[in-house]
């Protein structure tokens, strides 16, 4: 019955029950509306020619900004870099996360210790994690530089070379966010009903068959949720890349937000920066819609209402 519409019944102040939920959520809403105003401004900027260095050229140009953007190879480079970054990080994190979560599935003291240890990278600020890895990959004394030299690879430049910069930041992202994947999938795995697996053990069903026909389909909603969540985060990555290379070397790591940031502060191109962010917003908005629906479905499942 808990899913039934529930309102407090009328009282001596009949307006109260109707307004109560609004009154409770209003303060939070107001604070956020204060933040929505700049969002509207950003939309407007994206339709303007607006450069802080040349305020006198400011003026409404409509969709021209977007036309310019979509015909600019630099923009398509940004899209490409962002997509590669997102696909690489989320792909590896999903596979790694699923594998590790399966290893940690049983509740044992050792596994609990591992899960706690895995929290630590996740709790490290991504910007600081980037600095840590910068130190570890320092060509002079970095321990990772030393390790690869043991394998005969000398002069491996990590983030300083356009050819390996992507690999390096992806590695940092994996270090920080794989634990998130693990924790979510582990929680999913452990919340699956145990009895079907016991039945399979009793009936002697082969493990590979159990994994592909039972475990994976049952886990799929959790995989979808976790993946969507990570895609949403990863496509907007700023901290790691900015702290590590500020988008360099060259334009090799100019993902959406870094590109917009540099457009704004380095080239003072407010309008262009806003347009890039609007494109990113459109992508994330669509994805977050899917995500929140998926997440609500998962919650309903957990409540057994489906």
């Amino acid at each position: 019955m808990s899913d039934l519409a529930i309102r407090p019944a009328a009282s001596s102040r009949p307006w109260l029950p109707r307004l109560l939920p609004y009154l409770l959520s209003l303060p939070a809403l107001l604070v956020c509306i204060g933040i929505l105003i700049p969002f509207g401004t950003a939309v407007w900027y994206s339709l303007e020619r607006y450069n802080l260095a040349m305020p006198y050229t400011r003026g409404f140009i409509g969709v021209q900004q977007y036309i310019d953007l979509f015909t600019d190879p630099a923009f398509w480079h940004t899209v490409q870099v962002s997509l590669i970054y997102t696909a690489a990080t989320v792909g590896v994190e999903l596979l790694l996360g699923l594998g590790i979560a399966l290893l940690l599935r049983e509740r044992s003291r050792f596994n609990n210790f591992v899960s706690v240890a895995l929290l630590l990278p996740l709790m490290t600020a991504p910007a600081l994690a980037a600095l840590m890895w910068k130190l570890m990959t320092n060509p002079g004394f970095g321990v990772l530089s030393w390790v690869v030299s043991l394998f005969g690879i000398t002069n491996f430049k990590w983030a300083s070379s356009p050819s390996t910069a992507m690999l390096t930041v992806v590695l940092v992202d994996i270090w920080v966010y794989t634990p998130f994947m693990i924790i979510l999938l582990l929680a999913g795995l452990r919340s699956l009903p145990q009895q079907p697996f016991e039945a399979a053990r009793l009936d002697g069903v082969p493990p590979t068959f159990v994994f592909w026909r039972i475990t994976l389909p049952m886990l799929m909603p959790y995989i979808l949720t976790a993946t969507l969540f990570r895609v949403l985060d990863s496509i907007q990555q700023f901290d790691i890349i900015y702290a590590m290379t500020q988008g360099g070397p060259g334009d090799s790591l100019l993902v959406f937000q870094v590109s917009a940031y540099l457009n704004f502060f380095q080239y003072t191109n407010v309008g262009g920066s806003a347009a890039i962010l609007m494109v990113l917003w459109a992508i994330t908005y669509a994805l977050s819609n899917v995500f929140i629906k998926q997440w609500q479905k998962l919650r309903e499942r957990a409540h057994g209402t489906v």
Binding site: I100, L119, W146, A274, L280, W295
Partner: protein
């Protein structure tokens, strides 16, 4: 049967050992570095066993950075303090705003309720720069630029969705019957909210507060855009510090350790709650 069992167990142990090394080694390495002198840091191959020195920490705490060019004044401790202030105040404000709203979304079905909840949640996923860049211009106009109040306000973008998200889940999981029973006993809805609903959602509220504290602490881009040196938290401060200190790697490592220590300590202290909060209440059942 028994033999393949053993092989499987060994493989599993091996894999997990590799996992632990990959995920813990960087933290361990930075910790080690922070106790080394510059000469030790620069040694190749790296040494595992060192004579620890506290000089890096002393330099940071005293605010006098020892460089080749002589002592340099730094604001690192100030950054640390800023982080504490910003995170604590933001979380406190978020709780005051977010817990009643979360309760409203969990308990009442009201016109527009789902839309409002969705809007608030979607902040979590919007590109932060989209809001921050125009805001940086606005803040200069209304005098909020480079103030704690302005920053705390904007930090609601991080904390509020998280608290709404997690606490709402907890309220929804708690059976409304207990509150109904209290109402039938003759208590007002406000007393039912404060005496029953909030105490029962206590663990969820704590988990949400902890998690949003950590996220606020770890945030980088907000302060990068909106704050100058004297209001910056450690995440931004550390980056500036790297540029300023040049090759004082031991001190950089010590600064990083001091910056990540509070969140790691919290994580270890409250790991169970965190895990639950992180799974977003989505997978409990």
């Amino acid at each position: 049967m028994e033999r393949s069992d053993t092989i499987w167990r060994v493989l599993r142990g091996l894999a997990l050992t590799l996992v632990i090394i990959f995920f813990l080694f960087p933290i361990f390495w930075i910790l080690l570095m922070s106790f080394e002198t510059n000469e030790q840091v620069l040694a190749i191959p790296p040494k595992l066993f060192i004579h620890p020195t506290l000089m890096n920490y002393v330099a940071l705490l005293s605010g006098k950075l020892q460089t080749a060019a002589g002592a340099l004044d730094i604001t690192f401790m100030r950054n640390l303090w800023n982080s504490v202030l910003l995170s604590v105040c933001s979380v406190a404000l978020s709780l005051v705003l977010g817990v009643p709203a979360a309760y409203a979304f969990a308990r009442f079905r009201f016109r527009g309720g789902e839309d409002i909840a969705f809007t608030l949640l979607s902040f979590r996923f919007a590109p932060p720069l989209l809001v921050l860049l125009p805001l940086s211009l606005y803040f200069q106009d209304i005098g909020l630029a480079n103030t704690y109040i302005g920053l705390i306000w904007v930090y609601q973008l991080i904390c509020l969705p998280l608290i709404l998200w997690i606490v709402r889940g907890y309220f929804e999981d708690a059976s409304p019957d207990v509150e109904y029973a209290y109402r039938v006993d003759g208590h007002s809805w406000w007393r039912a909210f404060t005496r029953i609903a909030i105490p029962l959602a206590g663990p969820g509220i704590a988990a949400a507060a902890l998690l949003s504290f950590i996220f606020a602490w770890n945030n980088f881009v907000f302060a990068l855009v909106l704050a100058s040196a004297d209001k910056q938290p450690v995440t931004v401060g550390a980056l500036a510090f790297v540029t300023a200190s040049g090759i004082q790697y031991g001190q950089i490592a010590a600064a990083i350790v001091l910056s990540i220590l509070p969140t790691l300590a919290l994580a270890l202290y409250a790991q169970r709650w965190l895990v639950e909060g992180l799974s977003l209440g989505a997978v409990k059942g």
